[in-house]
């Protein structure tokens, strides 16, 4: 056989294999990508309709087109598609989910919020960066994988923004909260929810140093910004961002937080609470840093950090970030002889 013929035959065979190989070939990959794109757009549409239902202003073909960044014609076609699958009700003005559609929407939201919890707790990604990653991954997980993730995370009930996570049975709790922009001046409040969309506003909120569970009080407010007091320092927040921060009433005045990291060598404190979740919290608890424990700062490292703390007779080194997550009350009596 001619060498050139042999080479081109071999090349053709290789090309055919590359294209037609089951599961890994180009054709199979392309089909998979098509199916995924289809799933993504349907699930995103259901999410949007669900969000609008919760807000009380029903979704329309126009709002859906805007949300999904497609033309109105494509949106209408999509709506008739999912209507045909029985996922939305066909009656009345505005779009409403059918029970089946709601179940599917909640399943996607559940995957999204659990993924966000995972990205923050286990991978330590910054709060303002997780939304995009979770948005992509939520469509590729099976129900079993989502359930396994929930179990691995220890059945969290809220995502990192304070949103409740739907249960596997498909129930979603509602959070009683008021937007910070509507909160009266001078009334102590606790942050219970941070709205993560749009991400630009979330960046503003994180940049102002606000976090879930924080105690704050609005000191002043004008058209542009709010001045907030956290018991220790004053923070400024754009009014625009304040409508994305949700608070509930605090029964006592705002208290300044004392942190383990503020202890100097030789000083001691008693732990009040751990201000962290997930892996960090479990790790600290495992080391015996439970609320009520007496902790003494033993000595700093050569660079001032990390610091070694004496906890229940053991020496435990923590970085400043971990010390910041542990709220304490200073303990002034001599440590000697105490437990």
């Amino acid at each position: 056989m001619e060498p050139s013929l042999a080479i081109s035959l071999a090349a053709a065979a290789a090309l055919a294999l590359l294209t037609l190989w089951p599961r890994r070939g180009l054709l199979a990959r392309w089909r998979r990508a098509r199916r995924l794109a289809e799933r993504v757009i349907v699930e995103d549409a259901l999410k949007h309709i669900h969000a609008r239902e919760l807000r009380g202003t029903l979704a329309t073909p126009e709002s859906l087109a805007g949300k999904l960044d497609v033309g109105v014609r494509r949106a209408l076609q999509l709506i008739s598609d999912i209507q045909g699958r029985g996922l939305i009700q066909s009656t009345g003005p505005g779009l409403r989910l059918s029970p089946e559609g709601r179940k599917l929407a909640l399943r996607v939201i559940r995957a999204h919020r659990l993924l966000e919890r995972y990205l923050v707790d286990e991978l330590r990604m910054p709060l303002e960066a997780i939304h995009a990653t979770a948005d992509r991954r939520e469509h590729t997980m099976t129900v079993e994988e989502v359930d396994a993730l929930e179990a691995q995370l220890g059945y969290p009930q809220q995502d990192p923004h304070g949103d409740p996570i739907p249960t596997s049975a498909g129930t979603l709790e509602t959070v009683e909260a008021t937007a910070l922009s509507d909160w009266p001046i001078g009334m102590p409040a606790k942050i219970v929810h941070l709205e993560d969309e749009p991400p630009e506003v979330m960046t503003l909120i994180v940049g102002a140093g606000l976090a879930l569970g924080m105690q704050i009080e609005v000191r002043e407010s004008d058209e542009q910004r709010l001045a907030l007091w956290d018991g220790e320092s004053e923070r400024e927040l754009a009014r625009l961002a304040a409508s994305n921060v949700f608070v509930s009433e605090l029964p006592h005045p705002v208290q300044p937080p004392a942190r383990l990291s503020s202890l100097k060598p030789g000083e001691a404190g008693r732990i009040i609470a751990l201000r962290c979740e997930g892996l960090n919290r479990r790790r600290l608890l495992d080391l015996g840093l439970t609320p009520g424990t007496l902790v003494e700062c033993a000595f700093p490292g050569p660079a001032g950090e990390p610091r070694a703390y004496r906890v229940r007779g053991a020496l435990i080194a923590l970085r400043r970030e971990q010390g910041d997550e542990i709220e304490i009350e200073p303990f002034t009596v001599s440590v000697e002889g105490s437990q």
Binding site: A169, L274, R283, D286, L287, G301, P302, E305, R319
Partner: protein, 466 residues
């Protein structure tokens, strides 16, 4: 069982659990741990009487010094240098004695084979190939390991290694990595594969991956013989005999510090590009200092480590010895295969300050770094040519006088040995630990690329300036 109501079905139980879980206080996990700890504390207070001494305890005083701003780092460096120094001066004489004895056996055995009328290729392959590879590995590796491992185990048993991690954490924090990476690096001194497995102590997947990918920048025990030999032959030779061993130890410490620098640099780059993220929680227990148990140290370091690593090296060295003998004795067009391959690799080797034989040795030594030096020497001494190298002076004559090594060759070889790809065992371990072919490829090729780039820059700069 007498139940008045029907047994609930599994879905009912699950639904009930779901409902009850919603009703739980968020802090129920904390309450469980608190309950466990308060139980433990109650039991301990009944059973244990602890008297707190008036002054600071011995442990506290030791910690103040070992972790102080002024002394923390100098003591660490001095400790490391001391370990290398003892290894170098202690291993020198036994190495020569073992080499002398083992090569005598080679002479006798090959003479015996010849007198029995065995064909030359059988004698050559068995005795000048396989056996000589084994002899090199045993004589080059056994004495340093038998000294280095017990010394290192003593530091481990004392409780000093957690203090090293404590002292170095701020550096790892700066580069976005985990402080326990210092511990996995320490394990890497013994064996990089063991160091990669040790990365399991890091909880965060991101930081564990950083620690796994950079563990290779700590020279393992298989690479120390190369570094120590170069330290003795090239660095120590430039100093008066009185301080020669100190200079050699110092040069090895210097190489280790360069390795630490690259660990930090690569960790920093990774945590700012492909492995972006915040530093995770760092918690490290500093156990009390303990008096080392000498018997246990000797057992674990000699049996578990030295013999284990040596056995692995022997398994790799025997075929490598055979391969290099075949390459040196099969001729094509008037030159041996070794000649052809090293000639082909020569220009590349020269560009990075090495030569073709060294690169060939590194290809043969992918299964185990331990056999790099023996392979180089066997390739140099060539087919059947008997050069007895039972003293370092002769070694120097061979490398400098015959093969044209310079200080630049030594420096580039040290850097290449430090930075190049991990051995195949470590690569396999990375695959098993990460479960990802992609990260394994990065773990193997990234160090190799860095080694080529660094050696190229050093070689070219040196040739321009000198």
């Amino acid at each position: 069982m007498t139940t008045t109501t029907a047994t609930p079905s599994p879905p009912e139980i699950l639904e009930r659990a779901e409902r009850l879980r919603r009703g739980l206080d968020l802090s129920f996990r904390d309450q469980i741990v608190e309950a466990i700890y308060s139980d433990a504390q109650r039991i301990a207070s009944h059973a244990v009487r602890a008297k707190r001494p008036a002054g600071p305890t011995w442990d506290e005083k030791l910690d103040r010094i070992l972790t102080s701003k002024l002394w923390g780092f100098p003591i660490m460096l001095a400790g490391l240098a001391l370990v290398f120094w003892i290894t170098i001066i202690g291993a020198n004489y036994p190495s020569q004695a073992i080499a002398f004895a083992l090569f005598k056996i080679e002479d006798w055995a090959s003479a015996l084979f010849n007198s029995l009328g065995a064909p030359w290729w059988l004698t050559g392959f068995l005795w000048h190939g396989i056996y000589r590879g084994l002899a090199w590995v045993v004589s080059v590796m056994l004495p340093p390991m038998a000294i280095f491992f017990p010394l290192f185990t003593i530091l481990e048993n004392l409780g000093y290694l957690p203090r090293v991690a404590f002292n170095m954490d701020w550096l790892f924090k700066k580069v976005g990595a985990h402080g326990k990476q210092a511990l996995t690096m320490s394990m890497g001194f013994g064996c990089n594969a063991a160091g990669v497995i040790a990365c399991r102590v890091i909880d965060s997947p991101r930081e564990r991956l950083i620690a796994i990918l950079t563990n290779n920048f700590v020279p393992c025990n298989g690479r120390f013989p190369t570094l120590i030999m170069l330290g003795i032959v090239f660095v120590a030779a430039a100093f008066p005999p009185a301080v020669a061993s100190i200079a050699a130890a110092g040069s090895v410490v210097g190489v280790v510090l360069i390795g630490v620098f690259f660990t930090l640099l690569v960790s920093w780059t990774l945590s700012r590009t492909v492995l972006k993220g915040e530093a995770s929680s760092f918690t490290l227990e500093l156990p009390p200092y303990r008096r080392p148990n000498i018997g246990q140290i000797l057992y674990t370091s000699i049996v578990d480590r030295t013999l284990f690593v040596l056995w692995r090296a022997v398994l790799m060295a025997a075929p490598a010895g055979g391969v290099i003998w075949l390459l040196s004795n099969i001729s094509l067009g008037g030159d041996s295969l070794t000649g052809w391959i090293s000639g082909f690799l020569g220009p590349l080797g020269h560009a990075i300050g090495l030569d073709g034989v060294i690169l060939l040795a590194y290809i043969i030594a992918i299964p185990a770094n331990e056999i790099v030096v023996p392979t180089i020497l066997m390739a140099y001494t060539g087919a059947g040519m008997m050069i007895e190298i039972d003293s370092l002076r002769e070694l120097q004559q061979l490398l400098v006088g015959q093969e044209g090594w310079t200080l630049l060759t030594a420096v580039c070889l040290m850097l290449f040995s430090l930075l190049h790809n991990p051995c195949s065992t470590t690569i396999w371990t990375i695959y098993k630990e990460t479960g990802s072919a992609r990260w394994t490829t990065i773990g193997a090729l990234m160090p190799l690329a860095i080694a080529f780039v660094v050696c190229f820059i050093v070689a070219q700069a040196a040739r321009l300036l000198i």
